[in-house]
């Protein structure tokens, strides 16, 4: 990888994180805290786009920049886990399990959908 790719990863990683902060913030402020919808939307949309990118067979530096850097920092596994744990702390065990199940199902489905769309594009 060249120096420019490293710099690109650093820059686009920041862009992805900012995009998540904005989108998650907007959704969470509207949807309330019953379930962490902001994180779900961010992870599902990120999975869809990453599926799409691999579907169109993006490779090399382009995949590193768009996938690993941008989408990698846009989506968040740790927040999904932390917020699930918080649901458990607040006596909402069922909501915690639901958050895991829905996040997993929607995420895998979004990635598969993205790949299908990408492969046929």
């Amino acid at each position: 990888m060249s120096v420019w790719t490293w710099l690109g990863v650093a820059l686009l990683g920041g862009v992805g994180a900012n995009a998540r902060f904005l989108i998650d913030g907007l959704i969470s402020a509207r949807a309330g805290a019953a379930l962490p919808f902001g994180t779900l939307v961010v992870n599902a949309s990120g999975s869809l786009v990453l599926g799409l990118l691999t579907g169109v067979a993006l490779s090399g530096d382009a995949l590193v920049l768009a996938g690993t850097a941008t989408l990698g920092s846009y989506t968040t596994f740790s927040t999904w886990m932390l917020e699930t744990h918080r649901l458990g702390e607040d006596a909402r065990a069922r909501a915690a399990l639901l958050n895991i199940a829905v996040g997993l199902a929607v995420g895998v489905a979004a990635a598969a959908l993205g790949r299908t769309i990408g492969a046929h594009a």
Binding site: D24, A29, G32, A33, G38, T79, L82, G88, D90, R92
Partner: protein, 360 residues
């Protein structure tokens, strides 16, 4: 010493002219040499515009509710108010009466002797509820134990219904700034131990506390204990919207509960916030404690590898008497089994949302 407590409720990220409001307020308090001040970070809440602030969602937790208190003589708080009111800030501000039993060198000798008499005589003597607040440093010790542990144990032994230890993040003690830093011992950063009970046992505790603490700073406030463990003891103060002089009156309801208390399987304090946010309440703030006790259980905090949290929570709602009465009906229903509910009269309040502020 008869004091006035100025309390401001706002958002952690609120800014005035590019500076954080919390920093701005504490800087004013420091400049004015306020005797006692603590900045608390809340866990959840909403204000006039009913925007939810919560630590439950990572992205929203960067703007949590905060509470800043400043306690001093009425004259000094009045002088301070000029500076505070000059700031273009949103949020809620209250003035309340309190009795400070301090240990500043000049008043130590006379005041310590009189602490019991003072505490008992404070506003009407026996027969009323009192809120006791003990200020200690984060690393302050009594004997070989942390001060907050020793104080909680004493309060528990003397049969108080409960106590909550709240961790401050910034503050002042006898005019000296004590701010928490990320990598530091933070030895003097303030902690408040809050307990509610009948006037006599609380008054009897004051000299005992003054004996065990190195530099005791103890505050007493008048409260009405409305509910304890689901039992309705007394209705909140029935206030008119304005007093005889036409000044607006305000009311503060506080629910002291456990983080793991539930109502119909839902977290009690979160359910209070949720329902009050769905209604027309002016605002609610929850603050988590880090140690405490409730009833007969020995004082405790969180343990390693647990799912539910075992810490106390304070849920504070300040409103007009009419809305506070409606809120109490809701709180009464939710605290059918758990929680201690108090009512206080707030002599002065100012609440501004961002829109109202820009309209001024």
């Amino acid at each position: 010493m008869q004091c006035v407590k100025l309390t401001t409720y706002f958002g952690e990220r609120d800014r005035v002219d590019g500076r954080l409001l919390a920093d701005e307020l504490l800087a004013i308090y420091e400049r004015r040499g306020v005797r006692l001040s603590t900045l608390f970070r809340g866990a959840e809440g909403f204000g006039r515009l009913h925007h939810l602030h919560t630590e439950r969602l990572l992205t929203l937790s960067e703007d949590l509710p905060v509470i800043a208190t400043a306690l001093d003589s009425p004259e000094r708080i009045e002088a301070l108010l000029t500076d505070v009111l000059a700031i273009k800030r949103r949020g809620l501000m209250t003035l309340e009466r309190a009795l400070l039993l301090g240990a500043a060198a000049d008043e130590q000798r006379s005041e310590r002797r009189d602490t019991f008499a003072n505490a008992l005589a404070f506003a009407g003597g026996a027969g009323h509820g009192r809120k006791l607040t003990i200020q200690v440093g984060r690393r302050e010790r009594v004997g070989n134990r942390p001060a907050f542990v020793a104080v909680c144990e004493l309060l528990h032994e003397r049969g108080l219904a409960g106590a909550s230890v709240l961790l401050g993040v910034d503050g002042l003690r006898e005019g000296r700034r004590t701010r928490a830093r990320f990598i530091a011992r933070n030895a003097d950063v303030p902690m408040s131990i809050v307990a509610v009970g009948a006037a006599e046992p609380i008054a009897a505790l004051v000299p005992e506390l003054a004996r065990i603490l190195r530099e005791p700073l103890i505050t007493l406030e008048r409260v009405r204990i409305c509910k304890r463990d689901g039992e309705l003891l007394e209705q909140p103060h029935a206030l008119a919207a304005a007093d005889e002089q036409g000044r607006a009156a305000w009311q503060k309801l506080t629910v002291y509960s456990s983080h793991d208390a539930t109502h119909d399987g839902r977290s009690l304090h979160l359910e209070i916030v949720r329902r009050m946010r769905a209604g027309d309440a002016a605002g609610v703030t929850c603050v988590n404690g880090m140690w405490g006790f409730h009833g007969a259980h020995a004082p405790h905090g969180d343990r390693l590898l647990q799912l539910r949290r075992h810490v106390p929570v304070l849920t504070i709602a300040i409103d007009s008497p009419e809305k506070a009465a409606r809120s109490f009906v809701l709180i009464d229903e939710l605290t059918r089994e758990h929680g201690l509910v108090t009512s206080e009269v707030v002599p002065a309040m100012q609440a501004l949302s961002a829109n109202e502020l820009s309209a001024r």
